[in-house]
């Protein structure tokens, strides 16, 4: 089983349910674009406190690995307790943007995330003070807000108010704010020109059929506990997977995972073209068309 990394040999030899569960669980696969963004996030985290902290807007298409990338970053910076007085420190806090630009809901989500007690009916200013106090106490240096495009589900005024809240947080707490969302997020952030200026945009681009894409497939293959080599990088297979996934990493992963699970269930130990034909997979663009959204 030379096609596998050594640590996976025992998994490859285990029973079917274990292997399927392993394949279906989320795994982080390194690739250059993500590595570059992780490096940038590291730089931001280490940034000294200044009056105008740099912020970041991570933009990528849906299912292109933004959330997983941010989760990976959070895993690298987990909370810890200081040695002397055993104070809790959470350098990075992640929160999902509320379904509409509502500050109170945002604060509630944040306090829930921080495991802090709070009064549901508290006034906005008191809730804000509490959030600021807790974040300061936890020595938080970066606040990551995912699904920032949710901002668009509100009037332009409420969008601006919400962005002002973020600005206030960045200014007062001197923390780095990282917002992540789909392409529409850019429109949401541009509601306030000042904010658009503050948030440096980073893109997580769609994949193209390049050397990098083939390297990604090779990485996938090394992490799939199939007992035989599938040679995903061979042009026929690689092109087929590319066509099925339409170039987003979430879809590439979904195609390969589904194929691998089907292969194991069918008693095959490798992915081939025939198997890719067999799997029940609807193209992302088809799915969108089905929902009445143009691709």
């Amino acid at each position: 089983m030379k096609h596998l990394i050594e640590a996976l040999h025992p998994v490859a030899l285990s029973d079917t349910p274990t292997r399927i569960q392993f394949i279906q669980s989320n795994r982080w696969i390194k690739y250059p674009a993500a590595e570059r963004i992780l490096e940038r996030l590291e730089e931001l985290l280490a940034h000294p406190k200044i009056a105008r902290m740099p912020n970041l807007l991570l933009v990528g298409e849906t299912n292109n690995g933004k959330t997983l990338l941010l989760k990976k970053f959070c895993q690298l910076h987990k909370p810890y307790a200081t040695l002397g007085d055993e104070k809790l420190v959470r350098p990075v806090v992640t929160v999902e943007a509320p379904p509409k630009p509502d500050e109170k809901q945002f604060y509630r989500k944040l306090l829930d995330q921080l495991n802090a007690p709070y009064r549901q009916a508290d006034r906005l200013d008191r809730m804000e003070r509490q959030v600021f106090h807790v974040l300061q106490h936890l020595d938080t240096r970066m606040l990551i807000i995912d699904e920032i495009q949710n901002l668009l589900a509100g009037s332009s005024t409420s969008q601006r108010v919400f962005l002002n809240v973020l600005k206030g947080m960045a200014n007062e707490l001197q923390i780095v704010i990282v917002a992540a969302g789909t392409m529409e997020a850019r429109n949401a952030m541009s509601a306030d020109p000042q904010m658009a200026n503050r948030f440096v945009q980073k893109f997580l681009p769609r994949w193209h059929y390049t050397e990098e894409y083939l390297r990604l497939l090779a990485s996938f293959e090394r992490l799939l506990p199939l007992r035989e080599a599938s040679r995903l990088t061979e042009p026929a297979l690689a092109e087929r997977i590319y066509a099925m996934s339409e170039g987003t990493i979430g879809e590439i992963s979904a195609v390969i995972t589904t194929a691998a699970v089907t292969a194991i269930r069918a008693g095959k130990e490798r992915i081939d073209l025939k198997l890719l034909d067999q799997i029940d997979y609807v193209l992302p663009s088809e799915r969108r068309r089905f929902q009445g959204v143009s691709a």
């Binding site: 987990k78 307790a81 055993e86 809790l88 959470r90 495991n115 007690p117 709070y118 106090h133 807790v134």
Partner: protein, 352 residues
């Protein structure tokens, strides 16, 4: 020392963000109020958040909190279980009485002052304080476990008598009600009187005379490590001490005679501070009055005791009457040897 927790365990346990350890000898209720303040929420909300099923402030959590309350604190703070258990009075009371304090037990407990819970207020003076210690705490004043124990009437650190009420308005200490009617929960220090906002750390301090102070030092040492080699456990001394203060507090008959004589022999004026009932429920002035006599009687054991009893013609019955707990041998042997009149009496009650 607490083992270092893994980051995943920290997340899983949903550790409170602004948690800190209780201070030296801090009461559970005091720690909870300070934790609530640190999170910028009111005390009631904080306790409802952690224990939605129970009304925390309707019970004496400092005496012995329900186990699930402590479990929640063990999970959601970084403080180790042993340290949390020390914020309750049960271990101290068990040391003084020699019996285990059970969660189901209600009603009076020897040496533990009742706080007089009426709904969610405390109307008794069951918690005393030392203005000097509160002052020394600076920005984070807190209440000590020893301030709930009936024999803690002086502060061994500051050398002053403890106080039981607000000098300005006479209200008992109710620090967990400080945020009631206030917008901002965290601004009030625990040393503030809940009723009139007087700063209790600024209360007048009355120094303890040197001779008395040394008696209290001995008493507090006994409460920690026992009296002497032959009486190695605190409860063996404290059972007798409690019986003697009980006898001395009796305002008639032989007991009154004994009390007046002891006072005169101590060279102190015979006064009669008001208050009756169980020792734990007496006002602090009366507790001081009785404790000092009892400690003096037990000094130079047993010579002084025998002499005073003989001079006042006190019978052993007066001394051992209604003694609820088992009499320690060091005490019963002296009673049997020196005061027992053999006629028509059974020996068996002394043979423990």
């Amino acid at each position: 020392m607490t083992p270092i927790l893994s980051p995943d365990a920290l997340l899983e346990r949903r550790i409170l963000p602004c948690t800190f350890h209780p201070s030296e000898d801090e009461l559970l209720s005091s720690w909870l109020v300070r934790l609530a303040q640190a999170h910028r929420v009111k005390v009631q909300l904080f306790s409802h958040y952690l224990w939605p099923q129970i009304v925390v402030w309707k019970r004496d959590i400092d005496k012995l909190a329900p186990p699930h309350m402590l479990n929640t604190l063990v999970v959601r703070t970084l403080t180790d279980p042993h340290r949390i258990a020390q914020t309750m009075l049960a271990p101290a009371v068990e040391r003084l009485t020699g019996t285990q304090l059970l969660h189901v037990k209600r009603g009076p407990t020897s040496w533990l002052m009742p706080v007089g819970i009426v709904h969610r207020t405390r109307q008794g003076n069951g918690l005393v304080y030392c203005p000097g210690c509160l002052q020394r705490d600076g920005a984070n004043p807190y209440y000590r476990t020893s301030w709930r124990l009936a024999f803690y009437v002086v502060c061994p650190t500051c050398g002053v008598y403890l106080r039981e009420e607000c000098p300005a308005c006479g209200a008992p200490v109710n620090f967990f009600r400080l945020d009631m009617g206030h917008q901002n929960a965290a601004e009030q220090l625990l040393s503030t009187c809940y009723k009139c906002a007087f700063d209790l750390s600024q209360a007048p301090m009355q120094p303890v005379p040197a001779q008395e102070l040394s008696r209290y030092y001995t008493l507090y040492r006994v409460s920690r490590e026992g009296w002497k080699e032959a009486v190695p456990y605190p409860h063996q001394y404290f059972r007798v001490l409690r019986q003697i203060v009980r006898v001395l507090s009796c305002p008639f008959g032989e007991a009154l005679r004994l009390q007046v004589d002891v006072r005169l022999r101590m060279g102190q004026p015979v006064t009669w501070p008001s208050g009756g009932g169980a020792f734990e429920q007496l006002p602090i002035a009366r507790r001081i009055y009785l404790l000092e006599q009892a400690m003096w009687l037990l000094e130079d054991w047993p010579a002084r005791f025998i002499r005073v009893m003989h001079d006042n013609q006190i019978k052993s019955y007066t001394i051992r009457r209604d003694m609820a707990e088992e009499m320690p041998f060091w005490f019963s042997s002296v009673l049997v040897e020196h005061f027992f009149s053999a006629r028509n009496r059974s020996w068996s009650q002394f043979e423990h």
